[in-house]
Symmetry: C2
Subunit: 199 residues, 2 copies
Amino acid sequence: MIEPIEQLISQLSHLPGIGAKTAQRLALHIVQQDAESVRELAVSIYQAKKSVTFCSVCGNMTDVAHPVCSVCTDARRDDSIICVVRDVRDVMAIERVHEYRGKYHVLGGTISPMNGRGPDDIAIAPLLKRLEKGNVKELLLATNPDIEGEATALYIAKLAKPYNVRVTRIAHGVPVGGDLEYTDDVTLARAIAGRRDLF
Amino acid sequence: MIEPIEQLISQLSHLPGIGAKTAQRLALHIVQQDAESVRELAVSIYQAKKSVTFCSVCGNMTDVAHPVCSVCTDARRDDSIICVVRDVRDVMAIERVHEYRGKYHVLGGTISPMNGRGPDDIAIAPLLKRLEKGNVKELLLATNPDIEGEATALYIAKLAKPYNVRVTRIAHGVPVGGDLEYTDDVTLARAIAGRRDLF
């Protein structure tokens, strides 16, 4: 095959969730586009990387002109509660539902001994430094409800204890619109254990 | 959200098979890479587009230095047989199995009235011009075995009749390694109708 195409296929297949077949389809799609749209795609990739950095306080995404992100600088947001999440996408998901009005802390991963990622490889130390300042009253642990997310949440909960903050975890239960019959056993058990009074 | 990121997500979601969620995941992955790998990705996209064009004879992919592709210029390949395919990916798939040693013709699509694509929108006229030259003995129609592919094959077969060539179609049947029980009815019926003598 033509070498620059092979090069492009190899580059694309390094992207998450893009296998060899998809990379090939994308590469062929790209070379069949007009030169202008291809240039736009290449430029927007480069431009996005150049103009984005990560908040020096919480690790959320921010533009390079503002080293502290828009959530951290927003005075209307409650800075006595910090929501701890795995990555920027989780911030975006939570922001989308307009339910949470506190601050964030992005870990940049979860503790995963299987993948050689320990507590020092994610942003736990900066989180403890934020707790040290003393004005935080609640730590809402919103890591994923999977094994690594749970382990990370428990680990942080333990470390946060001496700081005298309320440590909470997002609720586990049956998803809205879900079907009891098809809910897995662990989720169903948690949904029952975590039942709430209606009146 | 930061504007260049939105721009990138929108650009990525125009790629085939990439939805809004995947585009977002890819964009966030990209901005979290180091600047050098992002530059490489952007450059390889631009470079691939710049160095690839399509063969003036058969429509296959070729590098800009060679307006006629490596298959068309290969004197060892039989030019009395033309394999007609929908797009470049099909050429790559057929080349991979090393079973076919003739030439190709890439249509660049199939006839699809539902999508407003008629016979004039794909490379049928150039194919007929190749048949006019008279040295083609067989036309192997290898469009996909779906409704559009079948319709396109039949349409071309009709047009090719006056040129006095043998018109063939790739065999339909049970895939190797497949399971009779789970084969759909149409395929099974074709596999029986197209049965071959073993001795």
